[in-house]
């Protein structure tokens, strides 16, 4: 075959356009743009947030579709084609330096996002995201609105729950430290409240707990556990001051189960997220021992009721004394 100019130009174009027709022409003719069950229209604010999301390159680190093999946030719903109707552009993303955001709406209340956008390390100490403070409060508000809409109607129902508990959490916080803790404890099921930490607070486990605290907790609850981390600037109610827990041990002896439950499940409505996707059992128990020993000077580790020791456990005796409270004898 001899390549003549005519063959080159006409042939190259014909093969190209025939191939292109298959790969973009046919989908354009056949793909139906029908809303899925969770789809809803974006509000003008959310639309402005989408523009900011696109302009600032959020999509280079965040994807917007959940695959069948995903476990992280949003994994409750595999993406469907009808989730993106009308969004222009709905950039699906190619990388996850940060998590997928297709179901981010309602995972956190607004104040968490505002703090996170101002400086991502405030809420997430090891985040690699840039600070977006320079965008200014109004744009951060719009971005937050968009992020809270991701997930459509599913996000809306999560937001409804966040807002419901937000009111309760604020009321509790404004009732003072003791009222606040009483409310927080009441959010934990009865069986967890009277459950001591089943694992010994050995030096090694406390070091592990410290590492978790530094990677996850430190910029809200602060280096000394007083709830005055940087995120306290923007979150309301502010993060809990752990030291106030000292006078609120359940029956003046239990705190491990409450720590575990709140870390695992989070306190919906407040900036305290659930950590059960990030941390598995041992890490949470180690962290709760660390919180108790470091900020309360007390842990209920290995106290009764207790079952059989795990095979790895060394002989370990809990020498921590419960605080002396007026009218109540110390343990």
């Amino acid at each position: 075959m001899k390549m003549t100019p005519a063959l080159l130009i006409v042939g190259a174009l014909m093969v190209f356009w025939a191939s292109s027709f298959i790969i973009v022409g046919l989908p354009s003719l056949t793909m139906k743009d029908e809303p899925s069950d969770i789809w809803r229209q974006l509000t003008p604010d959310e639309q402005a947030g989408l523009r900011l999301y696109v302009q600032n390159g959020c999509s280079y680190c965040h994807s917007r579709y959940i695959r069948i093999n995903d476990w992280d946030i949003g994994a409750e719903r595999i993406a469907q084609s009808g989730d993106y109707v009308g969004q222009e552009p709905a950039i699906l993303g190619t990388e996850r330096t940060g998590p997928d955001l297709s179901q981010e709406g309602g995972e956190h209340p607004d104040d968490w996002h505002i703090s996170h956008f101002n400086n991502p390390r405030f809420t997430s100490p090891i985040s690699l995201m840039p600070s977006w403070k320079f965008l200014g409060a109004e744009k951060i508000r719009q971005l937050t609105a968009f992020v809270q809409a991701m997930g459509g109607k599913m996000a809306d129902s999560r937001m409804k729950r966040q807002n419901h508990y937000k009111r309760a959490a604020i009321a509790a916080f404004e009732a003072g430290p003791d009222g606040n803790i009483t409310w927080l404890h009441s959010q934990v099921p009865e069986v967890w409240r009277k459950m001591p930490n089943p694992y010994p607070a050995t030096e090694a486990s406390l070091l592990r707990g410290k590492r978790i605290y530094q990677d996850f907790c430190i910029n809200c609850h602060g280096p000394i556990g007083d709830g005055q981390g940087m995120a306290a600037l923007q979150t309301y109610p502010p993060p809990l001051n752990f030291t106030t827990l000292r006078r609120h041990l359940v029956e003046n002896k239990y705190i491990g189960g409450i720590f575990y439950y709140q870390i695992m499940n989070g306190v919906t409505g407040t900036a305290m997220p659930y950590f059960k996707k990030h941390l598995e059992s041992e890490k949470i128990w180690d962290l709760s021992n660390y919180l108790g020993v470091t900020f309360l000077g007390f842990t209920d580790a290995n106290t009764d009721p207790r079952g059989i020791d795990a095979a790895y456990e060394e002989e370990w005796k809990n020498n921590y004394q419960a605080p002396e409270l007026p009218g109540q004898p110390g343990k």
Binding site: M1, M3, P5, L8, I9, A12, L13, V15, F16, W17, S19, S20, I23, V24, P27, S28, M31, D33, Y53, V54, Q55, N56, G57, S59, Y60, C61, Y65, R67, N69, D70, W71, D72, A79, Q80, S81, D83, Y84, V85, G86, E88, P89, A90, I91, L92, T94, R96, T97, D100, P120, R121, S124, I126, S127, L128, P130, S131, W132, F134, H278, L279
Partner: protein, 463 residues
């Protein structure tokens, strides 16, 4: 001044110099991006240097600016030379040069301040898209008119590739950039991802690949001083490239809810790409058969040969990672970033640099200032890029396997630290190499030894 714009090959040289400059600019932005993945608080509050804005500047400046521009420069020399004529209109090529570079300049000037359409590889705004289309059209006219005025009857392989690269881009670019939606440059809904990745993959596949393949087909036989191994293989490689490559963009969104038949087409054709790639690589290497010492001993041709090695690695890895089961681990993480770097810097970049150094004496009438600097640049890039590839691939496997086992993205971040530190360190080698290349190019133009007319004739006849 106007005389300069009519001087033969002046536009070709301008494209090559611009490519070398964009290489430095792109590498600087890449360096900042790499640092930000180690230390996100580095230069905080500098709005135009946040990751989400600097990354597209890096990517687009490298793709269109360095590799694309430099290869266009090579093509503008090769095509008339192979047709034994002059470029039809030198001023027209300069027009293309100005428009093309304005588009690339709109990256650092625009993206950094939020003027972007945000879709990967299609970030340029509509007005920049228009400029790019005009530039491509001007180049097409110039190339076709050059063919019309040729004195050599036969069209050599390189010409097919150079001409077709622009013909295809003229069709690809407006579709992928959805230019009939000027405000967003996107289709509404999920179908946008199909348009996006149509261009997203055709940019490397039907723009950079034909330009680089054409340049390699030009350099290797000349340095080896042998005729091309096989005309039939050239034909097969060329036609299979366009028949298959056009289809494979869907593998970027393989696990998204796009139609299944589209996924099947993307995967099948991705795997089939092994065929044209192997054909091209074999054809070039068989041309250099028994001339290995000459080809690998020539500083410019060594870059081209190494580029072909990267091409082979890229295009074996590419089909493999298009397989859905493997993508569960390799998608969404640094594995893909590693792949993109060996494709663009390894394949496209090496061949662009090699062809540029090979052509430079003919275009400037001066011998390259320093062969040792070419070798140094080769060594630095090769060390940097090989390290990059290994580090990013390993990081990607750590991320992908961890996620697949149920770890969250956030939990895996600490595991990335050593990889991100190494990658930033390796980036210094690539940045240094880009600066050395620019210095060598400028020194050639200003201080290179002037070639006597008979030396120049000899150079044009082949080394």
């Amino acid at each position: 001044m106007t005389r300069y714009f009519k001087k033969p090959n002046s536009a070709s040289l301008a494209f090559m110099v611009a490519g070398a400059v964009w290489f430095v600019v792109g590498a600087v932005y890449g360096m900042f991006s790499a640092i930000h993945l180690v230390s996100p608080e580095f230069l905080p509050e500098v709005a135009w240097l946040v990751f989400g804005r600097e990354r597209p500047v890096h990517v687009n400046t490298m793709l269109y600016g360095f590799v694309g521009t430099m290869l266009i420069g090579c093509g503008l020399y090769c095509v008339p030379m192979l047709l034994r004529t002059r470029l039809w209109s030198e001023p027209l090529a300069w027009g293309g040069f100005v428009l093309w570079n304005l588009v690339i300049l709109s990256g650092p000037l625009g993206f950094a301040f939020g003027y972007t359409q945000g879709r990967e590889y299609s970030e340029y705004t509509w007005s920049a898209d228009m400029l790019l289309m005009v530039a491509v059209t001007l180049i097409i006219i110039n190339l076709i008119m050059t063919i019309v005025h040729r004195t050599e009857q036969q069209l050599y392989v390189s010409i097919w590739y150079f001409v077709a690269a622009f013909l295809w881009t003229a069709g690809n670019y407006p579709i992928g950039n959805v230019m009939w939606h000027p405000a967003t440059g996107a289709m509404p809904g999920l179908i946008d991802s199909i348009f996006l990745w149509f261009w997203g993959h055709n940019l490397p596949g039907l723009f950079i690949t034909p330009l680089a393949t054409g340049a390699a087909y030009f350099v290797i036989p000349r340095v080896a001083r042998t005729p091309l191994n096989s005309h039939t293989l050239s034909l097969l490689g060329f036609w299979l490239l366009v028949a298959l490559y056009t289809h494979i963009g869907g593998h970027h969104v393989l696990q998204s809810p796009i139609p299944n038949w589209l996924k099947a087409v993307s995967i099948v054709d991705s795997v089939a790409m092994v065929v044209p790639v192997t054909i091209v690589v074999l054809n070039l290497w068989l041309t250099a058969r028994q001339r290995g010492a000459v080809v690998w001993g020539d500083p410019a041709a060594r870059l081209v040969m190494a580029g072909i090695v990267w091409y082979l690695i890229t295009c074996i890895q590419g089909p493999v990672q298009s397989l859905p089961y493997l993508q569960r681990v390799t998608h969404f993480n640094n594995w893909t970033v590693g792949h993109a770097h060996i494709a663009m810097l390894g394949f496209g970049g090496y061949i662009a640099l090699g062809a540029m150094y090979h052509i430079l004496p003919m275009v400037t009438g001066r011998s390259v200032y320093s062969a040792r600097l070419i070798n140094l640049q080769f060594g630095l890039i090769t060390f940097g890029l090989t390290g990059f590839f290994l580090v990013l691939t390993a990081a990607g496997l750590v991320q992908g396997t961890s996620w697949n086992n149920g770890e969250t993205v956030y939990r895996v971040l600490p595991q990335l630290r050593p990889f991100m530190v190494s990658r930033a360190a390796l980036g210094i080698f690539i940045l240094t190499a880009s600066i050395i290349g620019l210095i060598n190019l400028i020194m050639t133009i200003t201080h290179g030894r002037k070639l006597a007319p008979e030396e120049l004739d000899q150079a044009e006849e082949g080394l």
